[in-house]
Point group: C2
Chain length 227, copies 2
């Protein structure tokens, strides 16, 4: 499948690498291709420059946001919460219209220190706001409640015995994303929360995620809905 991943950070890289390894035709999108490839210093989190990753993952094409969305049958929003709507606008309404947009972003605000607060929550969600801005896309919120390593390899933790949530307004799109999570990454327990307003639940759960992470000093955990 042709997949377009918006965002060249750690989440975008991890998903792109896994899908390329699976045999998908993957393009990863950035605001400025030359600038991204020219970076020669680690990012703020200490991750190596993009080109170091790309040398190891040269099958992944690199393009602008618009190139990437145009390439894609399936679009993945792996941008930061703050950059998501602007990045999708740069990708172009016409390039995402009618397509599934898997939205992984969280509305994290790091400006007040750690743990982050959410710059929107409770009575709306970033998933909903993206859907409102792009009414012709089929936004499915998922993967936003675990770290990047677990997104693409849930079996790394207790043989995958934990839960992934999906929220979206289009039932067929949700079913397709659910099948994709299972086939591409090995998720087994995928729970459909309902329409996109339910993304408020999974995004707000990230407030708990951040505190579990800080109290346990270990990001390799996940929530399971025991039922």
């Amino acid at each position: 499948m042709k997949v377009g991943i918006l965002g060249t950070g750690m989440v975008g890289q991890t998903i792109a690498a896994k899908l390329a390894e699976n045999g998908d035709d993957v393009m990863i999108g950035t605001r400025d291709v030359q600038a991204t490839l020219a970076k020669d210093k680690p990012d703020m989190m200490g991750n190596p420059p993009f080109r170091v990753w790309h040398d190891k993952n040269h099958k992944v094409k690199v393009g602008t946001f618009a190139d990437t969305a145009a390439h894609a049958q399936l679009v993945v929003n792996a941008l930061s919460g703050q950059a998501s709507i602007e990045g999708l606008k740069m990708a172009g309404e016409k390039n995402i219209a009618g397509k599934i947009v898997v939205d992984i972003s969280n509305p994290l605000d790091f400006s007040k220190g750690m743990p982050p607060s959410l710059f929107m929550s409770n009575t709306t969600s970033l998933g909903e706001e993206i859907q409102k801005a792009f009414p012709n896309a089929k936004v499915v919120k998922t993967l936003n409640t675990v770290n990047a390593y677990l997104m693409v390899d849930p079996k790394k933790l207790k043989d995958g015995d934990h839960t992934m949530f999906v929220s979206g307004n289009d039932a067929a799109a949700k079913a397709e994303v659910t099948a994709w999570l299972k086939k591409s990454f090995g998720w087994s327990d995928v729970l459909d929360l309902g329409d996109l307003t339910t993304a408020r639940g999974s995004e707000m759960a990230v407030a708990l995620w951040a505190r579990v992470w800080m109290s346990t000093n270990n990001p390799m955990f996940a929530f399971k809905v025991v039922r």
Copy 2:
């Protein structure tokens, strides 16, 4: 132990009944004892009147909020989120000073329909606001992420293989509450999130709780931190 439970709703009743069964000296507190005992109709949720429950649980003493807090070595706030701070004020600062207050409440706002939103979240929590209002109490937030049946009998679900969170500023109080959760109710996986600001995490997770409940039509579930 002498336990005082503020709130005669379903959560207060369930905890009071369990602790009385365990042999604790339990008082349950209400704003107006005569009015509570005089009720002869089911509540909004269809639960039978208080006196029907009390006839079956006559070992539980009934008192005002102030009587109940004065009686208690351990205070449990089982009031609704909206009523919590006012109820604790009626209980009396001097009656809770120096005591552990186990805060089970969630800042739920049902005024905009279901699922509820939170009337405070993200940059504060109800647990923190209670602590600010009663600086001499030792507030420990816990039990707010499961329904009342699971609070007092976690083993009812998958032999208790799920997680309860505790947040609080007083380490000794948290340790005491953790031991109490294990001994009185049978909790096995109790995760200390940190100081009371971490109650933002467990309270916001209730937004996810509500949506899992609505999508599965089953309140008998709990979150497990798989790690």
